[in-house]
Symmetry: C5
């Protein structure tokens, strides 16, 4: 699992049936390599059963854990899911941008989600 | 899962029987480390049950999710598959090249797929 | 599995039911790329069935191994867990910061855990 | 799965019984970070049920897919296998060294495999 | 799987019961990014059912393969294991430090294992 921030959303009409009706969020891991205004590592696409909004911090799980969290069944066509929306974190050595919900200069999602 | 772009295709005569009749796409993750005209991270080879074309944005899943998406059976000899063809995405902080379907200077696939 | 150090904790009210009552630690892998006072690689969020404290060295396992270690059941919504609290390690080529429990300049966790 | 090139072979007398009689190839992923004559990313060790030779391009699968491809049974002590020997690929943006079977200055394997 | 070198050992009194009585080795992947005397990528912690010693080259497997190799049962709290002790390898493009069993300037393990 990793601690990330919701940075976007993806829409697909043509997709695996298991993805029907599920939000697909784009989530950026929080690490130290990020400079303000620019995503720096490859983001993850995750289904979101919890209703996270743009800029929120989330915990993302992979693999079977994601299917358990989002579907309750091991045989689904996704392998990443939001398993927690973070209220607060305490990481003393974290850089300042971990704390800011929406870094300066980043517009909000069009959908306002 | 990750958000990527179809950058090529691979053909193999000698292969695991489970790959017979399946397209093998080469997919580049969309991240910020890419400069125009040059792939910058190791691409993924994925089976494609959805018929994605060169330059299209896709969501790719790994592991059992890929087998569920592309075969419906857990015992197949691949572990990456296209699970969605992206119509649109909303990632406010994304660099400009995420949006462009085919970056300048990149020729199309020979097969025109 | 990897050798890491507990650098923080995360709290989430809205989360997968399988995470109820479990501590979610933020753990930084020990590698050579870390400079004093700054986390350098993406940290992992792991459940902790062993009661590790801030600054302690731990061994973290992924996937089913994590669910076995922390729950005893394969169908849980997490995929990383502390499987050992390190008493000592012997890695002759390790940089000095591997040994220091809390690098200079890093405050302790608010919770003092 | 990834697209790689066979760059070597490994021999082990003391090994898991499941590896008896299986070739263990060293395979370098094809990415853009490679300069001529120098491997640049950590190579993968994979079993090879298909008989790939030095310098050939292959598709490598991980996890259960590898066990299905190379053994037909989910309970084997390896998690990477060659699942295809590439005849041709079409990746318009690929750097020139992707195409060259054996980069200049790299000797062939002793075994000539 | 990857080709690595044993660079250390870890001891934990408080640990998952499945780790009782198992050696936990610290293993550095052999890649080109290593300079003499300094580990450069995050090492892996693996159980060792084969008795590898400091400085030896080993093949390490992840996930279920590791549990099969080291325990014979799929439900164990680890996901990395030594599956082979390398007698010899033939990787023509490998840098010189791949061959040296113990790089200059690196002391041996205290335990002499």
């Amino acid at each position: 699992m990793f601690l990330g921030r919701v940075v976007g959303e993806v829409w697909a009409t043509k997709k695996s049936a298991d993805l029907d009706g599920r939000r697909l969020l784009v989530i950026q891991a929080l690490d130290e390599r990020r400079e303000p205004g620019a995503a720096k590592v490859t983001p993850v696409v995750a289904v979101d059963p919890l209703g996270a909004g743009f800029g929120q911090h989330v915990v993302v799980a992979f693999g079977k854990a994601a299917r358990v969290a989002a579907g309750g069944d091991g045989d689904l066509a996704f392998e990443a899911a939001v398993v927690g929306i973070v209220d607060d974190f305490d990481v003393p050595g974290a850089p300042a941008h971990w704390r800011s919900p929406v870094p300066d200069g980043e517009p909000k999602l069009r959908s306002g989600s």
